[in-house]
Symmetry: C2
Subunit: 150 residues, 2 copies
């Protein structure tokens, strides 16, 4: 966790993004790390956890982080929480809370609230369209023989 | 949306990942696109929406998608929903619903449920650690003069 906090500080001071860092460990060894790179890479998905998950998956050459521990300097936002559930590490440690983050100007509480709102009523309206056509892609998937499940 | 569904089909048939595609449009022009690349890139964050957001941000050279419309072949999972809120497009259109996705074997309902659970009680336990040390990174951020807000 000390290393994750250090990444948060150095990344922010370098102007790469906000003060967030993340380190992923497997069997006592660091397999991935990252700091927030939203500003540097102009990528809104480049939160520390996402950057570290991608780094660890590259190291482990797998799309899942089985048996890994995630150390993140702050409680994950909904996007990073989703990314963590898809990556399936064994455990997550976080330092600051989302309330601390909000107090520092990083408020993801509105996203947690928006998840509860019906799609069409969200701040960014989300509207269904061409469902029947898209279902055909799912039909093709179900029929596909040689597929990997993830 | 027709193009997003086509990306879903071709990406899946190529073995790149699940049957999901996404196209991002600004002023009637495609500025970003993507299909699910989880299997191809071994990156659990490479959902169609995240891939397309990254692509559009590269095209527009900005970390926000102001005035853009997102066309995705399926209702976004919590990770992609978070990514969309951080990218701030104007509107989202989706074709299949998350219930359709669950029926095809892509069940993200458990993530929506886990968000409601207290961190320490989640399937992947999330535990706080070294909060005081990490708060110092936020203090540094607050003191930082030449920072971009995002």
């Amino acid at each position: 966790m000390r290393q994750a906090i250090e990444l948060a500080k150095t990344g922010m001071l370098a102007g790469n993004g906000g003060p967030f860092g993340c380190v992923i460990v497997k069997d006592g060894k660091v397999v991935g790390q990252g700091s927030n790179l939203v500003l540097k890479t102009k990528d809104p998905t480049a939160h520390a956890e996402v950057v570290a998950i991608r780094d660890a998956c590259k190291t482990l050459d797998h799309f899942q982080l089985e048996g890994c521990e995630v150390y993140t300097s702050c409680e994950p936002c909904p996007m990073c929480l989703g990314a963590i559930f898809w990556a399936r590490p064994a455990k997550v440690f976080f330092a600051c809370t989302k309330e601390d983050a909000a107090e520092a100007g990083f408020d993801d509480e509105f996203i947690y609230q928006e998840i509860e709102v019906k799609p069409e009523n969200r701040r960014i309206p989300m509207v269904s369209l061409m469902r029947e056509e898209s279902l055909k892609a799912f039909e093709l998937w179900k029929e596909k023989g040689d597929k990997d499940l993830y």
